[in-house]
């Protein structure tokens, strides 16, 4: 199976060795950076382009193949087309005096460049989020992600919130992602040998084909979850019991340096955001740096 979410790549790069708490923080921080308001489209695309560059560098260090992103994007094409249609036509309702016309139909109906840019913007943000998640799951063992989550949820323990149950649920969910993927592959193969073609046909046929996958997968999931809970009971699992950890996380020098780099990147993006917010009249970052005009 190709490199998909939940599957750790067997390398020992510096990204793999970083503290999972730091990687989790970096993931959330960079995702937030994707969603900050950066003003006009030129600014937005420059900022997201810089973020994409940073992500590509991290992926190269972590030895994650860029092609693995494409397999994750397969299901997004439909959404992209849907968004494109919505954004191209919904723009008509807003004040169009500040928009840039792309196509003007003889009846006066106009399609604006902004609709296309809006679609690209949403798509780019989604792609970057997928890449960030891919980096975390490809370089961090599921149990390490759970340890990190448990650490972040620690303050909730002070108000008697059962964080250990939440982390157990998350760790089990993460643990079963590869198993369910394997299971779905097996079911798909079995249904293919009964003549199902998951790749061809119209939407109705595709939806019907997916039923042949979903129903057996759900049956298998429920049966597995019952067996798992029984096995946990049999081994004396107490959800409210005090738990210790086999692995104790230690924050090392490389983690501190990496944290600094993440903070620096955050500062850079927040500055870009502040620039566009405080100087809404200013054209764009390119204008600021090189005196190039805005779109």
């Amino acid at each position: 199976m190709s490199n998909v979410f939940g599957k750790l790549t067997p390398y020992n790069t510096i990204i793999h060795r970083l503290d999972p708490r730091l990687k989790f923080f970096a993931l959330i921080a960079l995702m937030v950076m994707c969603f900050l308001p950066y003003g006009n489209y030129t600014n937005r695309f420059i900022v997201l382009g810089v973020l994409a560059l940073i992500i590509i560098v991290i992926m190269a260090i972590a030895k994650i193949r860029i092609s693995s992103i494409f397999s994750s994007l397969k299901s997004l094409w439909f959404m992209m087309i849907f968004l494109l249609i919505i954004f191209l036509f919904v723009q008509q309702g807003v004040d169009t005096s500040s928009l840039h016309p792309m196509i003007v139909f003889p009846n006066g109906y106009t399609i604006y460049w902004e609709g296309l840019f809006q679609t690209l913007h949403v798509f780019l943000r989604l792609v970057l989020m997928i890449c960030l998640t891919l980096i975390l799951t490809s370089t961090t063992a599921p149990m390490d992600i759970t340890y990190a989550l448990d650490w972040y949820l620690y303050p909730l323990k002070l108000v008697k919130f059962p964080t250990q149950i939440i982390t157990m649920i998350i760790s089990l969910a993460l643990r079963f992602i590869p198993t369910l993927l394997d299971e779905s592959q097996k079911i798909m193969k079995a249904q293919k040998s009964r003549g199902v073609d998951y790749n061809r046909g119209f939407l109705a046929k595709k939806i019907k084909s997916v039923t042949t996958l979903i129903v057996p997968l759900l049956v298998s999931c429920f049966s597995r979850s019952v067996e798992l809970s029984l096995a946990m009971d049999a081994r004396g699992y107490d959800p409210y019991g005090k738990r210790t950890s086999y692995k104790v996380l230690r924050f090392k020098l490389r983690d501190a340096i990496s944290l600094l780099i993440v903070l620096l990147i955050m500062a850079l993006f927040i500055t870009a955001c502040a620039y566009s917010s405080f100087y809404p009249g200013a054209d764009n970052i390119l204008n600021l740096l090189f005196g190039i005009g805005a779109f």
């Binding site: 193949r65 293919k192 040998s193 009964r194 042949t212 057996p216």
Partner: protein, 300 residues
């Protein structure tokens, strides 16, 4: 005359991934039409991977598999080469994978987990309908197949999830034989069944074989191999070790080398030999003959 042929077939899982491994390497074999073949080997030897190439669920990384006139390979150049001097009908046939999948019915391990329809009859009709049969025709063949596997008519409108494990498996097998395949491939058909369930399934397979169909069974059960197989294919670490008869295989000293279990009959014969049994213990391939020989040695 062969019906399935593999030529230097190699299959690598996750080829571009650092975790890649060769599930099959350089496997060349032939399976005769109407044969009952068992594929044996320890876990991870490539048995399931090999049978999945037979109906193009996976395509060989290199080399090819040929099922009658259908060529299966991921190497486009090789496929073009193989189809170069072929008839138009053969070239046309090679464009339709569905036809191959109808010809080669593949029953996966624990097929009961692939049931999905709301009624048993609808689940069995699913395959034939996909292969182009009309609703009424599909219903007819589905009924016939269900009766053939021993599911009573009163069950047809029940949910498949209400059935016992053995019944579910028989329904799943009915779902494949309803498409009337020429070749029936079964991946560990008796795994997880009680002794009676195993006998029922094997008798069902035997009946299908008696109709002239080619049967290929992937199994770890050596008693099943001894009792049912005509030909045995032994795989080890993705390599073809030998294509032989069950009688020859179980008398071979190499059997334990490939982590294959010795059938109960041969274990018993070995115990008798080690115990200094004086009678004739050669060429015994079933318990009836063994009992007869013991009786002869004691009373005649």
């Amino acid at each position: 005359m062969w019906q399935i042929k593999t030529n230097h077939l190699t299959y690598v899982y996750d080829k571009k991934d650092p975790n890649h491994y060769d599930a099959l390497s350089d496997v060349s074999l032939e399976i005769k039409k109407g044969d009952l073949v068992c594929i044996v080997g320890k876990t991870g030897s490539g048995k399931s991977t090999l049978v999945q190439t037979f109906n193009n669920l996976i395509s060989p990384t290199s080399g090819y598999c040929q099922v009658e006139n259908f060529y299966i390979t991921s190497d486009k150049k090789l496929k073009k080469e193989l189809l170069k001097n072929q008839d138009k009908s053969v070239i046309e046939e090679n464009k339709h994978v569905a036809r191959l999948r109808r010809k080669v019915g593949l029953v996966f391990q624990f097929p009961e987990y692939q049931l999905f329809a709301e009624t048993i009859i609808k689940d069995v009709m699913f395959g034939p309908k996909n292969f182009g049969l009309k609703e009424e025709e599909a219903k007819e063949v589905a009924k016939k197949s269900l009766i053939e596997v021993g599911i009573p008519e009163s069950y047809f409108e029940k949910s498949p999830f209400e059935l016992s494990g053995g019944e579910k498996r028989r329904v799943a097998i009915a779902g494949i034989i309803a498409s009337d395949p020429d070749i029936l491939v079964l991946d560990e058909p008796t795994a997880g069944l009680d002794p009676n369930g195993k006998i029922e399934i094997m008798n069902l397979i035997k009946r299908f074989h008696e109709k002239g169909r080619t049967i290929i069974i992937v199994t770890h059960d050596m008693n099943l191999v001894l009792n049912f197989a005509k030909t045995v294919i032994v795989l080890n670490d993705g390599k073809l070790i030998e294509v032989t008869s069950p009688e020859k295989l179980f008398q071979s000293p190499d059997i334990e080398k490939y982590s294959l279990e010795i059938p109960t009959l041969f274990k018993f014969i070995n115990l008798l030999k080690n115990d200094g049994f004086a009678g004739n213990l050669s060429e015994i391939y079933d318990f009836d003959t063994l009992i007869k020989r013991i009786y002869e040695a004691k009373y005649e």
